[in-house]
Symmetry: C2
Subunit: 238 residues, 2 copies
């Protein structure tokens, strides 16, 4: 019998609905500045720009920037690209902090609280600790601890991250489970001996725009939300 | 105006009453094994043995051991020294886990919840993450995040720890406050620019056996419990 003692959660896309939240904040911003723009496209480009710049930092071609700084740099680019005029620095700052206010998917808090009764629930995200902390505090996510890949000086899907996270909790990888809406993350976790739980997030990139993970039978659990995980763990492992 | 955005808390002695808790668990253990011994002395020696062995690990004269392993090694020594007979390994294990069940001082949860409304509350302890996690989970301590000196590969009062902790939250040290019942910890924090809050714990080493911190006017705040901190911060800084 395997005892799943701790679950590690990917955050952006898996726990929080970044696309819906940012598009919503973009619509509010559009009203506040009284200028219309394509908020769906804006949202996609903000996230894509973040990923691009984060990669430049990760591969050393840019100096270290915090996630807030990266978001602001991309925001400035997009303000130019979408030809938005006369935006005050206060408005920019407030809009940039949208990324601290991303809403959890509806069943997340319930599911985490169910799991938390018998197990440790932790993040395992490429977001840095200060960002994860702000996000978690603003949305009252009930983590037992916040683990960031920042602690290991590298990013997912580097295997050191999954090994390091289990080590920090003094557990074998086989006593832990990685939960994510992204197949690449789980495939990497599995190679280190972690159990895996794939969560469908069919609206991650906008309504009806989810990931195609391929054949999901390679994952230990497959669920439609966090509120199914505890029951599935008990059914499969206990 | 200084805005105290995050507070870092020492844990053993400051947040939790290790002496009272371990002496209480020792009394229960004594009854369970039907053998009497000096539980006050036993408690002192368990903690002192831990500190001694932790130092050996820290200075490299012993290989790495988890805190649980250290506690067990000292427990085995004390079982010999106090001449306790026929202790099953299950009983030993259960007794050793007393260190995961240390009780918070009475006003701690209230105080942390008050502070948490406007600020980040985090540990900054020499305890490793898995230990801090178990302890915090068992006693429902409402941390926003758990920071351990383990993340920096060294121990308090090394200045890297205080600088690293503020960095992780993307704050200047002057925006943070170290809270401890131990002057050496606050003196070190102060040297890195952190604000300091001394908490009197007059019973840390048993009833009436607290630390003498010397002249406390060198600390920014001096309180009798966590329930005074929020008000004192507002009075002094805001």
């Amino acid at each position: 019998m395997i005892n799943i003692k701790a679950l590690f959660f990917d955050v952006f896309g898996t726990v929080v609905d970044w696309h819906g939240s940012i598009q919503n904040e973009s619509q509010i911003f559009s009203q506040e500045i009284s200028q219309e723009f394509d908020t769906f496209l804006f949202t996609d480009k903000w996230r894509a720009g973040f990923r691009r710049l984060q990669s430049s930092v990760a591969n050393g071609s840019r100096d270290y920037l915090t996630m807030d700084e990266i978001h602001m740099e991309i925001l400035e680019e997009l303000i130019d690209e979408f030809d938005l005029k006369n935006i005050s620095s206060t408005d920019k700052q407030k809009f940039n902090h949208s990324w601290h206010r991303l809403k959890p998917w509806p069943e997340v808090i319930l599911g985490l609280n169910q799991l938390k009764n018998n197990r440790v629930v932790s993040t395992l995200s490429n977001g840095n600790l200060s960002m994860l902390n702000k996000l978690s505090k603003n949305t009252k996510l009930p983590w037992d601890c916040i683990v960031s890949t920042e602690f290991f000086g590298t990013y997912k899907p580097n295997k050191e991250v999954y090994i390091g996270a289990a080590n920090l909790l003094n557990l074998h990888n086989s006593q832990t489970m990685m939960v994510a809406a992204h197949a690449y993350d789980l495939d990497a976790a599995k190679l280190t001996g972690m159990n895996t739980c794939y969560v469908y997030r069919p609206d991650e990139f906008g309504i009806g725009k989810g990931e195609d993970p391929g054949d999901v039978s390679r994952f230990d659990l497959v669920v439609n939300g966090f509120d199914e995980i505890e029951e599935e763990i008990v059914k499969k492992y206990e």
